[in-house]
């Protein structure tokens, strides 16, 4: 066996001593330390495998002299994981550099203490003979104790270690190992090796994060604010003026910042996928598109995704604009013609897309292979290579025909694209993945890209000789943005041919990046018509579902069309999906997590704060905003809020939507802490001065609620309008300024407060998790079995309460309660008491029903519902 090591490496002693004891022949091969950065020594085993751990090598070489004692394991692990990280730096300083470092010694001292204690009055660490534990620890300490003339006082203190070390040093195996490794020069020969070896990594101190930190990610941990900030915050709040809004970003935010914003989207409807689906469902492609466009529109509407216009690509404008861009590219020589071999079914008179052909696999002879892939051997194949191909529709044999196609000459357009990308990269905000994907496309070299297809369902190609063909969807679909705008307004060119004044944001998942960052910009650049090109491309990573992936075909996961039926309001989905938005890495949708976030962040933080603030105005000031006299102390709060607000604005400008949400939650957290510290419910009962102070605290809290209602609008529009309704806030508040200003003056009358959010229950989540776990088929079956709709979690509309009836029942309940108590104190017969208790419960249920509450809850437990609105 061979041991590769640098000269004088103390760890090599571990292996050499072991081989001396076991009597194996170990050939030592010296390695030049400067040419090898990895671990040394390395033991090469007879099989050729390598062991880079000196401790493992030591045990291996001991062979049958190796005891299997678990205590030996423990010491070996202790040496490598606990002792070395602190011993090695000390040895390097002390022996390697000749320095005495007290700090390093102090770090190592408890470890020596531990070892010393274990060695007191023992010859060997474990048992009664030499084990790997002795060898490994002796070798580790060799640089410190190996030169008996140089042991410092602090080290001789450990008499257990000293005696044990010296005893072993007299043994032949150890003596000859020193001679081999240090060439009989002793500790001084170790110097070079010690200085060259990489230091072990230090253990990581595990502190359990405090709850607040783990909940909120980045928090308002810097609570100290400067005096200037406080003064500025107070004056801005009082003046109600703020510098002008100055930025723009994602649509609802842009609108809040008062920018002229156009927000469009649509369904891309042409292509093979549509034709296939149409055949499957026995509809025409147009009918299929109508059907799905309607479904999509409804889903977006339910989620309150507030497009200015949600359009589609199957419109006359699409044909006009696509063909215009095509002609411009054609006339500027950016198109190429090439011949492509394809299968054509003469019976159906159409070229067959890969998925419309089946046949025998050319590789494994499986006779039911698909045109793009063989299900049996899994290999990818070209449809033209299939043996005995057949048309999937009519089963006739198709023939190979050549077909001419048009290609977009991307290599020729590459310089223009690169120039464009170089102008936008430095100044604009692209998500990192979008940049990486685009750069890699350009770096790998662009190839001509086919832009036509032998299909019927698409935008017709207007060029002579190609009129039977349509445009390929990825040429055509992005043009949809232009044509959809054209369907919305005849002024569309002011948006799309106006790069000086318009900033374009694209939002997508990362698989669509190249078509938006490379192919489409090339089309527009080649058309040379001053088009608006994408400035900010924001691509997300993937969102997973529970512990796997969303899968439409297997019915795993909750999709847009199912969300409505879960009974969870759209705002909660919006909140959660944005909270876990996969901005920089993949994230996961999990029902339990949704519940936790809802209950901890929305219900207990945001909802609790707004509700308390409004309840105080309502209960203590009859719903009229009290006068606010801001003090230094309040200035602290205002300054902290301004900080969060500015961070929020910055996040949204950079389209970091997740972090923006965290900032909002930080503001309501600050608000909660403020109320808790000021205790307005105490102040309000005190002297007139204290009552005025309570007014300030409550008035401020109500204004913070108003600010929150504006901030959450892009995230939770329904919640935003509920808060504003409860505040009776005028629509003018809906503008985002750079600093927090007083929007609700003294004397403003607010509406009726009520809780904003509902608690989500673990049982509901478990049901939903089960419901969306299986396949679509199973789910359908289940639905048919039990037609009961899921329990709605949303606020049920309040039942009309008959106050007279409530009063009568309340009196009754009181009376009956007295009667029961009397019976109990009289120690009446159990039967009698039970009967009276039953009556009491019945009365309570009636009362609950009259109040419009759930009677079961009242009976179920006492004081179960904590009153929101007070502490």
């Amino acid at each position: 066996m061979k041991l590769f090591t640098d000269p004088g490496n103390p760890h090599a002693l571990k292996a050499v001593i072991a081989s001396n004891i076991a009597g194996t022949v170990l050939q030592i091969q010296e390695v030049d330390r400067t040419r090898w950065t990895g671990n040394l020594p390395i033991l090469e085993l007879p099989s050729g495998r390598a062991i880079f751990s000196a401790n493992a090598a030591c045990r291996y070489l001991l062979g049958n002299k190796n005891t299997d004692d678990i205590t030996v394991d423990e010491w070996l692990e202790w040496e490598s994981s606990q002792l070395q990280p602190f011993l090695a730096p000390y040895i390097v300083a002390c022996v390697g550099q000749g320095k005495k470092d007290n700090a390093l010694f102090a770090a190592m001292f408890p470890l020596l203490e531990h070892l010393d204690k274990a060695l007191k009055d023992r010859q060997y660490i474990v048992g009664t003979s030499v084990t790997a534990a002795d060898i490994v620890l002796w070798s580790a300490l060799f640089p410190l104790y190996g030169d008996s003339t140089k042991i410092t006082d602090e080290l001789t203190r450990y008499s257990g270690i000293v005696d044990w070390f010296q005893n072993l040093s007299t043994q032949e195996a150890f003596k000859s190992a020193i001679a081999t490794v240090t060439k009989s020069k002793g500790v001084s020969a170790c110097k070079a090796s010690l200085l060259a070896q990489p230091l072990p990594l230090k253990p990581v101190i595990q502190s359990s994060p405090t709850k607040a930190q783990s909940e909120a990610g980045s928090t308002s941990s810097e609570l100290s604010v400067s005096a200037e900030e406080v003064t500025a915050a107070i004056s801005a709040f009082k003046d109600g003026k703020s510098p002008k809004p100055r930025t723009r970003t994602h649509p609802m935010f842009c609108r809040l910042r008062n920018w002229n914003t156009l927000y469009i989207c649509g369904t891309d409807e042409y292509g093979t996928a549509t034709e296939t689906k149409a055949l499957e469902e026995g509809l025409s492609p147009q009918q299929i598109c109508d059907k799905y466009n309607r479904i999509h529109t409804e889903i977006y509407k339910w989620f309150e995704i507030d497009f200015d216009y949600f359009g589609r690509t199957t419109t006359p404008q699409q044909t006009v604009i696509s063909q215009d861009i095509f002609w411009r590219l054609y006339k500027r020589n950016f198109l190429l013609t090439e011949t492509v071999e394809q299968l054509k079914c003469q019976q159906c008179d159409k070229f067959l897309a890969d998925r419309f052909v089946e046949g025998t696999c050319p590789l494994c002879n499986y006779d039911d292979a698909r045109g793009d892939q063989c299900d049996k051997c899994g290999k990818l194949i070209n449809a033209t290579e299939l043996k005995k191909p057949r048309c999937k529709l009519c089963n006739k044999t198709p023939v190979v025909q050549t077909s001419e196609h048009l290609f977009l000459d991307l290599p020729k357009l590459e310089p223009a694209l690169s120039a464009f990308l170089n102008t936008i990269y430095p100044t604009d905000d692209w998500s990192n993945n979008a940049k990486v994907i685009t750069r890699s496309w350009v770096r790998d070299g662009l190839k001509p890209r086919c832009i036509t297809r032998d299909l019927k369902w698409g935008t017709p190609v207007p060029l002579e000789g190609f009129t039977e063909k349509v445009f390929y969807v990825w040429f055509d679909a992005p043009i949809g943005y232009l044509s959809i705008t054209a369907n919305y307004t005849d002024q569309w060119e002011k948006w799309w041919k106006n790069p000086e004044q318009v900033t374009l944001y694209n939002f997508m998942a990362k698989d669509n990046v190249p078509f938006h960052s490379v192919v489409f910009p090339c089309s527009l650049l080649g058309a040379e018509d001053n088009y608006t090109l994408v400035n900010h491309l924001q691509a997300t990573e993937y969102l997973n579902y529970e512990d796997g992936k969303f899968s439409k075909s297997r019915g795993v996961g909750v999709f847009g069309n199912n969300a409505k039926d879960t009974g969870i309001p759209a705002d909660i989905y919006r909140f959660y999906l944005l909270f876990v938005r996969p901005e920089s890495q993949d994230s996961t949708f999990s029902w339990e997590d949704l519940m936790t976030k809802n209950n901890s962040e929305l219900l207990n933080n945001l909802g609790n704060f707004v509700n308390r603030a409004l309840m105080f105005v309502s209960n203590f000031f009859q719903g009229v905003m009290p006068a606010v006299e801001v003090t230094e102390e309040d200035g602290q709060l205002l300054a902290q809020i301004n900080r969060e607000l500015q961070a929020f604005l910055q996040c949204l400008e950079k389209v970091r939507l997740r972090e923006g949400l965290v900032r909002i939650l930080n503001i309501s957290r600050l608000g909660n802490q403020y109320i808790q510290a000021q205790k307005p419910w105490v102040l309000v009962k005190g002297s007139p001065a204290e009552k005025a102070r309570a007014g300030t605290v409550i008035g401020l809290a109500a204004n913070v609620s108003c600010l929150l209602s504006v901030l959450v609008q892009p995230y939770m529009p329904a919640t935003s309008s509920t808060i504003q309704q409860q505040l009776q806030a005028p629509p003018e508040v809906n503008i985002l300024t750079d600093t927090f200003v007083c929007q609700l003056p003294a004397g403003h009358k607010i509406g009726k407060p009520s809780p904003l959010f509902q608690k989500l229950e673990a049982s509901t989540m478990a049901e939903l998790k089960k419901k969306f776990a299986g396949t679509q088929m199973e789910r359908k079956e289940q639905e048919q079995k039990s037609k009961t709709p899921a329990q709605p979690v949303q606020n049920t509309p309040p039942v009309k309460v008959d106050q007279a009836e409530v009063d009568r029942l309340t009196a009754e309940v009181q009376k009956q309660g007295e009667a029961v108590r009397q019976l109990k104190t009289d120690k009446a017969e159990k039967k009698l008491v039970d009967a009276e208790v039953q009556k009491l419960l019945a009365l309570k249920a009636q009362l609950a029903a009259a109040k419009g509450e759930n009677p079961a809850e009242i009976i179920g437990g006492k004081g179960k519902k904590n009153k929101k609105g007070k502490k």
């Binding site: 062979g63 394991d73 202790w78 990581v204 595990q206 990825w474 997973n544």
Partner: protein, 178 residues
């Protein structure tokens, strides 16, 4: 990392069919300790995992390797876990580690080559938080580690309390059609 090292030991014990020993941690670096009864304790993850495998009633001892060579290799990977994996919290250390492991796993299904061992089990637990933080781009960069990790997390009984991570079989960062 040692956050949740108690859960790790419990899930190991569960996997190996061991009795429900009491598990605690020692000090601020949270070294796990297993209380084996009669006041005896074992300290350190490598030691504990070897003990659990050796005393496993469900034949976990075979995970310790049958030849001295296998045993040595397992020992070195257990050491690697506690001294390198758990301590590579700095980004550059984590990258260096992943790079090293990626080249090591180039021609191996499992750490020992072709059969599953305690080394895989312990490295899986240690790398889970690291892999969790990787983007798909990085997972593709360290594709041998990713392939090994996906293989191990699907090995029956291994996953226990840890969430399954998603790996893609196709390469993402090249062109793809609609």
């Amino acid at each position: 990392m040692a956050v949740g090292v108690e859960e790790e030991v419990k899930s190991l014990a569960n996997f190996l069919g061991s009795p429900a020993y009491k598990v605690t941690t020692q000090g601020e670096i949270k070294v796990p300790q297993l209380h084996t009864g009669n006041g005896k304790t074992l300290t350190g993850l490598a030691t504990i995992s070897k003990f659990l495998a050796r005393s496993s009633p469900s034949g976990g001892a075979k995970l310790l390797g049958t030849t001295p060579e296998d045993q040595a290799e397992i020992a070195q990977w257990l050491e690697y876990r506690v001294t390198i994996v758990d301590r590579s919290v700095e980004k550059k250390d984590a990258q260096a580690m992943l790079k090293e492991l990626n080249s090591y796993l180039l021609d191996k299904v499992y750490f020992l080559g072709f059969h599953f061992s305690l080394a895989d089990l312990i490295m899986y637990h240690g790398l889970h938080p690291v892999m969790c933080r990787l983007s798909f781009f990085e997972k593709q960069q360290y594709q041998n580690v990713s392939r090994w990790f996906d293989q191990v997390q699907h090995y029956p009984g291994v996953q226990q309390h840890l969430p399954q991570l998603v790996f893609l079989r196709n390469t993402l960062y090249t062109s793809s059609d609609h």
